[in-house]
Symmetry: C2
Subunit: 546 residues, 2 copies
């Protein structure tokens, strides 16, 4: 494939950029009363208003041309056809199959694959219903009141985010998540839980992930200290894994290993058996609604023309800011306390997928790739870091996400929440000129001297770009669509940047060195030579830990 | 004061930069076996290893010269002498006084101010002991089991972070934090709490913060729905505030308003009456240990020479990356699950302080100021965003924070945690060349073809800068010192960037617009004209919310 910077569209965008960069959004809105109508889209119940971005109609046309020249949609269709587009690991990429519909399928794959997905869903349904209904009993005959998911990365972030987001729908056991190798995570979670009523889900594809297996063995000891009988393990542990021998060796019954295939990447695994804690806490009907929302977005992504396509549009705007404005970050600001882990999930999804510098052609990029994704829920963030968004020296493109309706009874508060969300995008776009500030200060009776002093500090440049995603309600369907929207956004950006969004070689080196240092910390003999810093830190650890 | 880019040191740093930028840390370590000894510091029980930074001894000298030319320490001494260095708000900046020591004071201020601080501490001590001992009873005569802090920004992030970090020391009532105007935050927190046993701390300096007062009134209704008697308010609500009339109007007894002064900024307020929930949950002895740690760091900051000064060193390294390497972000990676809200606290501390573009001389900067601060605890982050740190196209300077010893019994897991922390900084620094990768692949028996294909994907450039902060244990003293370390780091950077780190005008415009939009959402008449986007979103909200 032609290199990104050699495409016709790239050159055209470079030529186009200075004209747009010098425009203020105020003027773009003033010059086009239909700008909102033109630059907003709807799909799967989600409105995307992207009119507060520093683009013109021409910018969008050029960006879409870049997507065409980059073969983005061809690659998308290859993905859902089961082509091994994860080339460096020689794997297909079929998370869309996990949520595909029998009636209106988007994946063009072997019936056996499809049947396997359905089998796992049925197994999840049977098991989650057993636990929810209380038919499943612990070793001592007690009902399960608490489920502890032990997993890390995709086996933690996705299900954890979803369980928090769908809390109003939770009518099953309480769910807890333990990920960190830091023993404080497991011990603080287990404090207050009753081993006789606790079920552990060990989520690790290979059943060898160091953090997960270490925590699982500690949890197993905690259970057995109370139960005193190895047979208890099979009543209190199940697995989401593919390593049957290791799962059985741990003491888990083979029928309670919930499987998924090698074409499910960790950061796309919440739709698979890794979603078991979601199914247990909200029930399989809601879990299937989550899948249906994601499927609706898959269909939209694959079928909508580029100029009506939500994931493509979000992706292209991101490319515009990263590669032309030089933005290094992207903020995700959900005005929804229940989405307090949404940014953390997207952080993995985006940064692990596109935080790469080598292309599929094995060349090193000469352009920037994935940004740092970060964010905290609004309105909390307004009282923390919004200062920098408004008056700092950096361009931080941001997505504002909000539901029009809420699931609780404090309706007035919800209206205030929405008002804040809208007001922030308005303020970031408009800004406030020094003349406006002076007029305000004068109207407030401020004498001329201090007014002069303060006016510049109260000035806002504005022209800060935002997207707004609004939907009726954060129900399972909408959440599924929202997460899939970002998955495809990341896919499109990866395709444009020519990287493999589905591998993660960047985590390997640290893992290897950790294994080696862990041995050295445990056994002072045979320490291999380190750089002076690492050696000094090993010595400091020894000194401090006695 | 001379403009930053006109200083002699700035020019010298510009000339010096290309030489350092072309060096690899591998070579800097190879060329100097004493690099760790030279480039590490200790204070207040904290080791700062900054040797894995892209600096030479000369870089540090030049950066320190920049600090001198910028009058950093003069400004620090002015701060603790009560000078109104927060010029745009005409206030002193005296959070150091909140933790000052009677025996070895660092603040040079009026005895009345000092006596006021001690009075508040004594009031906090009396009250927290009453609640902890059970002498304080609810309206129905029950003991308090749960404390709910209602506050936002600094009235939430600091105390919340500290309560999580000091959880092993918690022996008082459980503490909960509600900040978001989103009603889901309050309702989900109150679910499962017993009004008869719940105490609310309303934390708002002015007692007018919209989020806080809205949540406080909703909580008041929740209490009265159960208690049925207005007199209950005084037994279940206390305040950290300065607005006596409003506090009393709410129904809180005046003696249960815990005060702080206008020289305590929100992001520095956890040391003040805003820290009341900390005192209630861990006790005043631990709270005073937290203050003592911060005081020790204050003393170190004010007295240590620049080349032995931890906050100054961290700050200068940040300036180096922001202004010369063009880094836009700074990652805070605490290898400690109990510090899972540490980055969120620093986000406010740093971005609200230095996310500014106007100097104290009221001119607009022509250089970058504060970075985007972000992070999640290790080891979780390794399975999420570390891919980008290792192989992405961006330079992300990062602080790694770890305790050598833990407060739980899973000692082996703690050793693995430390090993991972050390291994990541080693990997980020060293990288792995294509030749090394090929040798590894060949040793693993990989045939030549695929090895060629994969080698570039498995290559790490390394040369990614990190700091490591190591201490014996995350006890209250160390936590206090650690937080104060970052406070002074931010102070130094603000002084170098010539901004007022103590105001936050950037939050005003959004607040004003939110008030106006909230009125419009509640009452469709009298909608003021908006840009097409904001107008379109208001209409969409109307449509969706019915």
């Amino acid at each position: 494939m032609i290199s990104l910077t050699d495409t016709v569209a790239w050159g055209a965008l470079q030529a186009h950029f200075p004209r747009v960069a010098s425009e203020h959004l105020r003027d773009l809105f003033a010059g086009d009363p239909d700008r909102f109508e033109r630059l907003s889209l709807r799909a799967c119940g989600i409105l995307l208003d992207y009119s507060k971005n520093r683009v013109t109609a021409e910018t969008m046309d050029l960006l879409r041309a870049l997507a065409c020249e980059s073969g983005v949609m061809e690659r998308a269709h290859a993905m859902v056809s089961g082509v091994r587009i994860n080339e460096t690991e020689d794997r297909a990429v079929l998370h869309a199959l996990l949520r595909d519909s029998r009636d209106s399928p988007v994946c063009k794959v072997d019936g056996a694959l499809r049947a396997g997905v359905e089998r796992t869903l049925e197994a999840m349904e049977r098991f989650s219903e057993e636990v929810r209904s209380g038919r499943w009993r612990g070793h001592g005959g007690e009902r399960i009141t608490d489920v502890v998911n032990i997993g890390i990365g995709g086996s933690d972030l996705g299900p954890r985010m979803v369980c928090r987001a769908l809390a109003p729908h939770a009518d099953g056991p309480r769910v807890h998540f333990v990920s960190n190798i830091d023993g404080a995570h497991l011990t603080s979670t287990l404090r207050g839980l009753d081993p006789a009523r606790t079920l552990f889900v060990v989520a690790s594809k290979t059943f060898t992930t160091v953090e997960t297996m270490t925590n699982a063995h500690a949890a197993r000891r905690w259970l057995l200290d109370a139960a005193g009988d190895e047979a208890a393990v099979a009543r209190h542990f199940v697995a989401a894994s593919t390593n049957r021998a290791a799962v059985v060796g741990f003491g888990i019954a083979p029928e309670h290993m919930f499987e998924f295939e090698d074409w499910v990447g960790g950061r796309y695994s919440l739709w698979s058996a890794i979603g078991l804690p979601i199914a247990i806490t909200v029930g399989m009907t809601q879990f299937r609604a989550l899948l249906a929302g994601a499927h609706a977005m898959d269909r939209h992504f694959l079928e909508a023309p580029l100029d009506r396509n939500l994931p493509v549009t979000l992706a292209l705007l991101g490319v515009w800011y990263v590669n032309f404005f030089g933005a290094e970050t992207h903020a995700v600001l959900a005005y929804d306390q229940r989405l307090d882990r949404f940014a953390a999930h997207l952080q993995q999804l985006d940064m692990e997928s596109n935080g790469k510098r080598v292309t599929l052609a094995s060349t090193t990029v000469d352009y920037a790739t994935g940004p740092v994704v970060w964010g905290e829920p609004g309105t909390g963030g307004q009282h923390a870091f919004f200062q920098l968004l408004h008056q700092g020296t950096r361009l931080v493109p941001a997505d504002f996400i909000v539901a029009a309706s809420c699931d609780h009874s404090l309706k007035d508060q919800h209206r205030l929440l929405v008002a804040n969300c809208l007001a922030q995008t308005e303020a970031l776009m408009l800004g406030r000129s020094e003349a406006e500030v002076r007029a305000d200060l004068a109207a407030g009776g401020m004498p001329l001297g201090p007014s002069n002093r303060l006016a510049s500090h109260r000035t806002f440049d504005g022209n800060r770009p935002t997207n707004t995603l609004m939907f009726e309600r954060l129900d399972p369907f909408t959440l599924g669509a929202l997460v899939a929207l970002y998955e495809h956004k990341v896919f499109v950006q990866g395709a444009i940047w020519r990287v493999n969004s589905f591998d993660q070689w960047g985590v390997e080196l640290g893992k290897e060195l950790a294994t080696s240092i862990a041995r050295e910390l445990a056994n002072p003999d045979g320490v291999r030579p380190h750089d002076a810093s690492t050696g000094g830190l090993v010595a400091e650890y020894r000194r401090l830990s006695g």
